[in-house]
């Protein structure tokens, strides 16, 4: 089973590297968008899937990261520094937001983050002196590293892919560490974890802050990708989109965000025939998926693989245990 997964990862990575060479600029742009949104989805997956908290603020954090990066690079700061700053700022804001908000029960964080996202949107829109207001920020240049310009679609795509792989490895390491295992304990039964001596609040807060910082880093790539920022891109709709991504992919699974982001980016293209019905199809998909397999697409795959792996005699009577 593990060898199959490893092989799948290798093949998928090979695809991600090779396929873009056969695509037109639009296709490359879609793949770059996929990579950037996956980073944000990984962050939300940490918060939602591993630590069991509903956050509707991920869209706002992408916005914070994007605007920070745009403003800094347009003021002359080197991109790498702006990138780090975006992540650090998002981490700090996530910490500050989570500190009081996580004192309360589960579902309240959803509403606090809902309010936060709307407030961030209002600030981005009203404070024209800083953010360009409703007109946004335009003409964002793609970064140049030691003479290598990422202005062309293919070059920028590889930058996004590289960052995605780096952050994925970092997240993988974190989740596998003893620290990471504590997150899972939190999700399963917070009260029990508490009784076992885990400082649940500290852990949940860390997870939320890290998840938020990944949102910020995603934003740092989003700005040069789209090259134009406006407040409306980072409101509740974006947060809902990310949430649905993580759910459809399979929350709590490491590769859930990758699959979820792929579905989200490609679905408008697949439903092109029925123009404008994309959101309807997406929502219906989630509603149908949830009762059938709340563990998302990855969970579905897992179930199917488990069923196939069992010996023929027991397949019919075996019940796959859910997460």
């Amino acid at each position: 089973m593990n060898r199959l997964a490893a092989a799948a990862i290798v093949v998928a990575t090979a695809f991600a590297i090779v396929v873009p060479f056969f695509l037109k600029p639009f296709g490359i742009y879609l793949l770059s968008l996929w990579a950037v949104l996956t980073i944000a989805a990984i962050g939300l997956n940490l918060t939602l899937g591993y630590a069991g908290q509903v956050s509707l603020a991920q869209g706002a954090f992408i916005g914070i990261g994007a605007y920070t990066t745009a403003l800094l690079t347009q003021a002359g700061v080197p991109y790498a520094l702006a990138f780090v700053a975006a992540g650090a700022l998002s981490f700090a804001i996530g910490w500050l937001l989570g500190y009081p908000a996580l004192r309360v029960q589960h579902h309240y964080l959803a509403f606090v983050t809902l309010a936060f996202t709307t407030l961030v949107f209002l600030v981005l829109r009203n404070e024209e002196w800083l953010t360009g207001g409703i007109y946004g920020i335009s003409g964002i240049m793609r970064p140049v590293f030691f003479g290598w310009s990422t202005a062309k679609p293919l070059d920028f795509y590889f930058l996004c892919l590289g960052v995605l792989i780096a952050l994925s490895l970092a997240t993988w390491w974190m989740v596998r560490s003893p620290w990471g295992r504590a997150f899972v304990a939190l999700r399963e039964n917070p009260v029990r974890a508490l009784s076992l001596g885990l400082d649940t609040r500290r852990y949940t807060l860390m997870v939320f802050a890290i998840g938020s910082s990944l949102g910020g880093l995603s934003g740092a790539l989003f700005a040069p990708l789209v090259q134009f920022l406006e407040p409306a891109s980072f409101g509740l709709n974006r947060s809902f989109d990310l949430l649905l991504m993580v759910i459809v992919g399979g929350s709590g699974y490491f590769f859930g965000p990758f699959v979820g982001a792929l579905v989200s980016v490609l679905l408008p293209e697949w439903t092109r025939i029925a123009e404008g019905y994309y959101l309807l199809v997406y929502a219906a998909l989630v509603m149908v998926l949830m009762p059938l397999c709340p563990a998302g697409v990855i969970g579905l795959l897992e179930r199917v693989l488990k069923a196939l792996n069992r010996r023929p005699g027991t397949a019919a009577s075996a019940r796959v245990v859910e997460q």
Binding site: I9, V19, K24, Y29, N126, G136
Partner: protein, 381 residues
């Protein structure tokens, strides 16, 4: 994961290949419009105006020997998606890109068209569109920097107001209008005694009417989207706001009049384009449109229609389908009904892509828009 990666990649590649197929004896002019979402009314009107024009032209064999191929793409009224669609069509080397209508979407997408050196014919009215040194963008209606001076003159000379209260919707359309209007008021020494911002989709205007009433202005300039205009007018009528209410095109549109159910009577303002214009060519167009689509078109329909004929006129002037040459020739061109009757009114495009044309002053009387005066082109006495 593996299976998903394979299927997904194959589909992406497949979609890329499908884009290649394109007829050779037609000219590719994709339309990227708000066909759903908040901008659906504007987008669909603009689209239908263009469709009427395209059908008329294709029925006569097209222009310069080629028929027009105008596939429609939906931006869902979102700037991000508009940009995506422009990105997509650029891969197929269009001659001219049509749309979007929403100013925000125009601003986002025009950077790409400019980089690719493809002219873009837009419906947006935000001033910023023609202030970014883009030699490839062309308007189909007045920019706010042209319509606002006309209104300002009306406020000063027609209404003779010394102070004005201003209520506007906080989006790119409303903010642009507000900024330009404020500038024009300041240069005419008319005081702005209230500056009230409202939200798109807002339903309750009682607080805003209270603020406007309290300001005691000589007139109120209303710059909101359609539904909000109707709600505001009703609330204003309810609370007894008795000073002249002045607007720009939208406020005097039939949709607002219908939704406001009587509260729109007495509203005055500047109208850039209207099917009620006292010009025979416009009236005949309105008839053809109504016959073809079964509804009365708004100003966006006229924009779309005249826009296509503008493209035809410029192309016939340069004699070939060359996007760069188009942009150069279009700056400074004047298209007159004498040469191209379906341009409806004489129009000149300046070096920034702004349009200069006659316009109208109107008033809402008994549930209908009435044109009171015809204003000449700017620069013509």
């Amino acid at each position: 994961m593996l299976r998903h990666g394979l299927i997904a990649s194959a589909l992406v590649v497949g979609l890329g290949i499908i884009q290649q197929a394109k007829a050779q004896n037609s000219v590719y002019m994709p339309a990227i419009l708000e066909l759903s979402g908040t901008g659906a009314v504007s987008g669909t009107n603009f689209r239908d105006g263009m469709i009427l024009a395209v059908e008329e032209i294709n029925a006569k064999g097209g222009f310069l020997g080629k028929k027009i191929e105008m596939p429609l793409l939906d931006t869902q009224s979102e700037a991000g998606i508009a940009r995506l669609q422009v990105q997509k069509v650029l891969d197929n080397k269009p001659y001219v890109i049509l749309g979007p209508v929403f100013s925000g979407s125009v601003l986002t997408s025009m950077v790409l068209a400019q980089q690719a050196e493809i002219p873009q014919l837009v419906g947006g009215e935000a001033a910023a569109i023609t202030q970014r040194n883009n030699p490839y963008v062309f308007r189909t209606s007045f920019g706010q920097q042209f319509s606002m001076p006309k209104i300002a003159n009306y406020v000063r000379d027609g209404i003779k107001a010394k102070s004005v209260a201003l209520i506007w919707v906080n989006n790119d359309f409303g903010k642009g209008g507000r900024d330009n209007f404020t500038k024009e008021m300041n240069s005419r020494n008319i005081k702005i005694v209230a500056d009230v911002s409202t939200e798109a989709g807002q339903a309750d205007f009682s607080a805003d009417v209270v603020k406007v009433k309290a300001a005691n202005a000589d007139a109120v300039f209303v710059y909101l989207n359609e539904e909000e205009s109707a709600r505001f007018l009703r609330e204003a009528r309810k609370q007894g706001l008795n000073v002249p209410l002045i607007g720009e095109t939208t406020l005097l549109g039939q949709k607002v009049i219908d939704l406001a159910q009587g509260a729109a009577n007495g509203v005055k303002g500047h109208v850039g384009l209207t099917v009620d214009a006292p010009i025979p060519a416009v009236q005949q167009f309105a008839e053809r449109f109504k016959k073809r689509f079964n509804y009365v078109c708004d100003h966006n329909g006229i924009k779309g229609y005249t826009g296509i004929y503008f493209i035809k006129a410029v192309t016939e002037k340069i004699g070939k389908f060359d996007s760069k040459a188009f942009a150069e020739a279009a700056h400074g061109i004047t298209v007159s009904p004498k040469d191209e009757p379906n341009i409806l009114m004489e129009a000149t495009w300046d070096k920034n892509g702004d349009i200069n044309r006659e316009s109208f002053l109107g008033e809402v009387v008994d549930g209908k828009q009435k044109i009171v005066e015809v204003l000449p082109k700017l620069g013509v006495k």
